[in-house]
Assembly symmetry: C2
Homo-oligomer: 444 residues x 2
């Protein structure tokens, strides 16, 4: 209890899970504090479009304080949580120490290298806005460097883009990158022979978007091929180096760009705090979404390993939203002295966008592909964006792209941004790192 006499509920994370939990708590007599290391919510489903220079980072972000400003009992703290102390019910952060009566953990997931050497040091990931912007900057820099690269082998390496992982993110980014390269960039880089450009999608299993029904899987494979993406199924990555990706079977692809979308794991806070975790960092929860032995701690969204009918629910927005609402209701029930209720997931279907007029949708036992599915995808994603202004901005950028075959935001900005992979400023310095004697075109 804090000074107001109301129970204090801390929600960690301002993704879909965290925000829906907080909103559901707004109508109850509690004090709620949302904690996140960013002061904005990110709409992750469109992150790949930021990395493809189609949307601005600001278009898919929304200030947390704007979202909660109508709810007097919800506050926000900009802080990076370091560790939870479940015994004393406090959270240690890089700033203040925060105490709680109930805790809803919604910190989501991070990229997972599966121990493949070189991924963390040399690959680009697509899980945060910073990573998406860094990847976009890097792609543009590869083209800038290629215009000056006289050596054919090195030029081809600069123009080879390898995406690892044939799930939704990998497929959507492969499609968006292909449309960026073969549309706007052709106009920008007149001295480059675009036959040298390769976009390669590597998938270790024998199928793309394995969670989708067969018609959507087949459609995805066919459309990506028509868009010039080289799909390689059964391709297992052995190592990533600064200049290549090595496949099992001694094969090697020379490239300066490896985008790692092959896997995710639970955000580490739970494991660091002594809560039980599975090998992939997710926290096993009771049917009520509580942690065993800690009835005051709930876990929702990607971080929660929720079993239903013998299977673990997938890491998707719908699970995060629905589990967050159940967790918030259960906290309210506990405060009222009632028993928490078990969570029931309602699958509303899944969808994937491959390119213009090209998407696949699965709802129940029905599947749709092509233009109608694409319109459905557009409408649902616009609807799920938070904020009317963001919807307008995204709509304008999409219309621009669709009608003019233009991408508006192909800047390298900020020019001194550190690369997510740790190598200082790599995203923009690429052109300067290359040990080449660059010449002005026409120079003999």
């Amino acid at each position: 209890m804090n000074r107001s006499g109301k129970p204090r509920i801390v929600v960690m994370g301002a993704g879909f899970g965290g925000l829906w939990a907080a909103r559901s708590l707004a109508k109850h007599p509690v004090d709620c504090l949302v904690v996140d290391r960013n002061n904005y919510h990110t709409f992750l489903a469109l992150l790949y479009q930021v990395a493809a220079a189609e949307l601005e980072a600001e278009d898919i972000a929304y200030p947390v304080r704007s979202i909660i400003s109508n709810f007097p009992n919800i506050d926000f703290a900009l802080a990076h949580a370091r560790r939870i102390d479940p015994q004393n019910r406090i959270i240690e952060t890089d700033g203040e120490t925060i105490s709680y009566d109930y805790l809803i953990l919604a910190t989501g997931s991070i990229s997972h290298s599966f121990g493949v050497p070189g991924v963390e040091a040399h690959a680009y990931c697509l899980k945060t806005l910073e990573e998406a912007v860094a990847l976009k900057n890097h792609i543009i820099c590869c083209f800038e460097a290629a215009t000056w690269e006289a050596d054919e082998v090195r030029r081809r390496s600069l123009l080879t883009f390898v995406i690892v992982g044939g799930g939704a993110t990998g497929v959507e980014y492969a499609g968006a990158l292909s449309e960026l390269v073969h549309g706007p960039l052709v106009q920008d880089y007149r001295t480059i022979d675009f036959h040298d450009v390769r976009i390669i999608l590597l998938e270790a299993s024998d199928s793309l978007v394995a969670g989708m029904p067969a018609p959507v899987r087949d459609y995805t494979l066919e459309r990506l091929g028509k868009m010039g993406v080289e799909v390689r199924l059964g391709a297992k990555v052995r190592e990533v180096t600064p200049a290549a990706v090595l496949l099992s079977g001694e094969k090697e692809i020379s490239t300066r760009t490896v985008v790692w979308t092959a896997g995710v794991k639970g955000e580490p806070i739970a494991g660091l705090s002594g809560l039980p975790t599975e090998p992939n960092g997710r926290v096993p929860v009771l049917p009520t979404l509580q942690v065993t032995g800690h009835p005051e701690i709930y876990v929702v969204g990607d971080l929660a390993s929720i079993r239903e009918n013998g299977r673990v629910l997938p890491m998707v927005a719908q699970v995060a939203i629905q589990s967050a609402m159940t967790a918030a209701q259960n906290v309210a029930r506990q405060i009222d002295g009632k028993a928490p209720q078990p969570f029931r997931y309602r699958d509303r279907g899944s969808m994937i966008a491959i390119g213009r007029n090209t998407a696949g949708v699965a709802i129940g036992s029905r599947t749709y592909t092509g233009f109608f599915a694409w319109i459905l995808w557009l409408v649902i994603h616009l609807f799920n964006l938070i904020g009317f202004r963001n919807r307008i901005m995204v709509l304008i950028n999409w219309a621009w792209d669709y009608l003019l075959y233009e991408r508006a935001v192909r800047f390298v900005f900020p020019s001194e941004m550190p690369s997510p992979a740790g190598s200082q400023s790599r995203s923009c310095r690429l052109g300067r790192e290359i040990d080449q004697q660059r010449r002005y075109p026409g120079e003999v």
Copy 2:
């Protein structure tokens, strides 16, 4: 001459000067190369609105390759020039070495500390997009930190914002910051007492916007006062420290935010290359805009010290555009064997925006203030933005701000961006640096 047999003209800088020079050369039988360290043009006149969370950085930037894509004889190189070798007519960069037959220098100006201690280490500047975004992030972080700061003196220091320099940039930023703070931020930070917030504008001389006519100067002073900005004329800054700004006469203002708009100087490339420069780094030019002793080198815009009727022309966009067009014409005349013509500047007036419905305009001997001047300011700035899309985006953001008293882009993003003042990641780490014991509100 390069392989095409045409003279090669290198334009350094993609600001107004560089772009107008390149465009003017497009119709002549020359090969033109634009060199800039960024791959985009920045509309500097609206930079202060990015720093006030009113516009997105992308709204006032435009890719250079888009601008030149219609001109087959103009190319672009993303490179940071290190030194010019005028004897051998080459430019050393961080990448390739670039040779030229004619050179148009349009690298503009940078902030100038006038040797005041602490400015480079501790003050925020407003000359680049990176600096504007870092300043915006810092302002938001000051408010985030203030919500948790129990010590009253330190909280007031976090909420005191000092702008040094009463020229156009300082005045416009003071007004925009006041509207940001007393509008959207009041809604965001409900636990902050906004009587603690101070915005102080320091000017060493006895007048704001000294270059404007008296009615505009008086209007500016009066309006800023009404908007809650404390204007202090005759205030000379002696030193900037991490926690204060020290004035001559032993006065001191405790603050975590000093915005330095007090002066600019010529970008250093000319001085580093042995070209003659004045103490402020600007290059004195002949009436034809050529450098004495180097008829193949022209200097335009802020970098050029252009004397006309006994006075040096001001560092404004109109001088840059007009001088760039003259320099390009003179290069073309030289190639045709004709004599270069002297530059004549046509002053089209000047304007300043202070806040909503509040601006001052001077055209010839006439002055306008208030709503009409503000509409004129809006129209002319929209018109001068490059790119139809940017105009739409800026218009939407302005309308949003005007109608809803909202600022859409108050994120701290990217969260790991280095501060322009050199102190690593200062812009976002402020809340973590402060040696305080932050507490959850209501904690006893």
